[in-house]
């Protein structure tokens, strides 16, 4: 028994590394007060992410198992998402330490929160049990409320955290009610057992299963900000500090996708060979997801057009990207689902980059309005050029990673019978998004220089921007190994 627990704990080592560094951060904070203001917390977070990555590498080599009596799974799907979370944790902390929006004496608290959120996201990605999923989601949510309101004397930040809380707590309470119905219906909390029961009793539960799935979806849709739970996104991103918003737009969103994929694929898909969804209550799930995806991306893109605040615009654009990613779920094969994972990698780099530029400009000019960007391309060429790369990639222009992501997803959709309209809508949406991304680029380069003293980009930020631009370009040209990697990752849960 003891040997088994030790064996299982080994598989959990990336999470244990994060917990260990959480304790270290607490200890360092209490015995050495100076660290609240210097870069020691950053070094510790980096160490945590590095060691976590090494641990993930190590456990991903082991055979895929579901352990701790069915609570969590260790497979290459978990490993993939752990990499994404650790990367976004490191990048988010790095950005926060260079931003003026976070006061220096709060650095230690920020590091503690972000490491703990990362731990919660890892739990979301590895859980194969409703209780574990709930604990993971709440760990992420509750700490995110705090992070959103990090500027304590700022009314907008307080409002952002308030809205985040109202939506988040309501969504997860609905989800919990859905969990309780699923438990009553199937008599189990473990995904595998639920799936077996659903398989055996298909058609016997015409109303309750769809109802509980809708409730569960509402909780998970809140995490990825998909329709109809997307209303909080623009307000929260606009009000919270930019580094925090950039982290929210990548980390918890990827975690939400991990949870959605695991939950719905485990419970509702036939085996991958037949490549179709289980019908629940006579309804095919495909049309529902297709409509959700269509509405999500259209609402995101159309609302983004009229925005004057770039942060708000990027918030709406992040909703639109969720719409594109949801398309991949419909195909139910390694190609389409792998495309989602590829898109997450590409989105991670390009969206972080775009938010990073907004953060730098907001620190410099004290505003994230469009006119704050005027002529900055000429005075800070590195910032200007990398922003072109990020926005072109977000818009899906060839040669950049976003294009490959979109191409994979649309390609998978076109092959799925009856969904051609969705692919066409997706392409039209990309065209719309090009318009508002181009507005930012026009301000950066084409509107002439703003008179006044020229501003310089610090090396601290320059390194990061280039570091994020490189994968955005490289993934657009040299993508075959990455596609191979994501398809191997997704294959373990199909």
């Amino acid at each position: 028994m003891n040997g088994e627990i030790v064996q299982n704990l080994k598989l959990l080592s990336p999470e244990l590394v994060l917990v260990f560094f959480l304790v270290v951060l607490f200890t360092v904070d209490s015995i050495w007060e100076q660290t609240r203001k210097n870069f020691v917390p950053l070094a510790l977070v980096f160490a945590a992410c590095l060691l976590g990555t090494i641990a993930t590498c190590w456990v991903s080599k082991l055979a895929p198992t579901v352990f701790f009596s069915g609570l969590v799974a260790n497979d290459s799907f978990s490993a993939f998402f752990r990499y994404v979370f650790l990367f976004s944790c490191a990048a988010g902390t790095y950005l926060a330490f260079g931003s003026k929006e976070l006061e220096k004496q709060n650095r230690m608290e920020f590091s503690l929160l972000i490491v703990c959120v990362t731990f919660g996201m890892c739990l979301m990605a590895i859980s194969t049990h409703l209780l574990m999923l709930y604990i993971g989601i709440e760990t992420v949510s509750i700490l995110s409320f705090v992070m959103a309101g990090f500027k304590s004397e700022d009314l907008r930040a307080s409002e952002a955290s308030f809205k985040y809380f109202i939506f988040g707590a309501f969504a997860s309470a609905l989800m919990l009610y859905g969990f309780s119905l699923i438990y009553g219906l199937t008599g189990s909390l473990q995904y595998g057992e639920i799936a077996q029961y659903v398989q055996a009793n298909l058609g016997n539960m015409p109303y309750l299963l769809p109802l509980s799935l809708i409730l569960v979806y509402s909780g998970l849709a809140y995490k990825i900000s998909a329709f109809p739970m997307h209303f909080w996104t623009p307000d929260v991103y606009e009000g919270s500090p930019t580094p925090v918003a950039s982290f929210f737009s990548v980390g918890p969103k990827a975690a939400g996708f991990a949870a959605i994929l695991r939950f719905f694929l485990d419970i509702l898909s036939y085996d991958a060979a037949s490549g179709s969804w289980k019908a629940i209550g006579g309804e095919q799930l495909v049309s529902v997801v297709a409509i959700i995806s269509a509405i999500t991306m259209t609402v995101g893109n159309l609302s983004a057009i009229g925005q004057n605040s770039v942060k708000r615009m990027l918030a709406y654009s992040s909703i639109a990207h969720v719409g594109y990613m949801l398309m991949g779920i419909l195909t139910l094969d390694t190609f389409g689902l792998g495309a989602i994972l590829f898109y997450i990698i590409a989105y991670c780099a390009m969206n972080f980059g775009a938010f990073w530029v907004v953060s730098i400009v907001a620190d410099l000019k004290g505003s994230d309005r469009l006119d704050a960007f005027r002529g900055l391309g000429w005075s800070m060429p590195v910032l200007g050029v990398t922003m072109v790369i990020f926005l072109a990639s977000l818009a899906g222009i060839p040669m950049f990673s976003g294009f490959i992501g979109k191409m994979l997803i649309f390609g998978a959709i076109v092959k799925t019978p009856g969904l051609l309209w969705l692919a066409v809508l997706g392409v039209l949406n990309s065209v719309v998004s090009l318009y508002y991304y181009a507005k930012i680029l026009r301000e950066l380069w084409l509107e002439g220089r703003e008179p006044g003293n020229p501003s310089e980009l610090s090396i601290y930020h320059g390194v990061a921007l280039v570091g994020l631009a490189i994968p955005t370009v490289v993934l657009g040209l040299w993508f075959a190994p990455v596609i191979h990697f994501v398809e191997r990752s997704i294959a373990t849960i199909l």
Binding site: F162, Y177, G184, G187
Partner: protein, 107 residues
């Protein structure tokens, strides 16, 4: 089946749970006061707890539903602590906890 049997069986508990959940949703949607919204969310969580415990007793005869209810209580407490801190700060900055007045950010 007498009313007492019905009320002390699975259906009675589920009935209470459903009413609590409905009241919770109504409170979240219609209350303007932030504390009222928070209470609505707590009602929803408790409805889920009741469901878990009654299913655990009458449906599965396993302990996992009751354990889930314990976790819900713990997490609800953590959530309420953070929520009250957020509401308190909003009150300090603006002297109202009306949810409808949190409208600084609009298009």
């Amino acid at each position: 089946m007498s009313f007492l049997d019905w009320a002390t069986g699975l259906h009675g508990y589920l009935f209470v749970g459903t009413i609590l959940a409905t009241l919770g949703i109504i409170a979240v949607v219609y209350r303007r006061n932030s504390i009222g919204v928070l209470l609505g969310i707590e009602l929803l969580l408790n409805a889920a707890s009741i469901n878990f415990i009654s299913f655990s007793k009458f449906r599965t005869a396993a302990i996992d539903g009751q354990i889930f209810a314990l976790f819900i209580i713990i997490i609800a407490a953590a959530e309420a602590a953070v929520a009250l801190a957020i509401i308190l700060r909003l009150y300090r900055l603006r002297e109202t906890i009306d949810a409808g007045e949190a409208n600084l950010m609009r298009n």
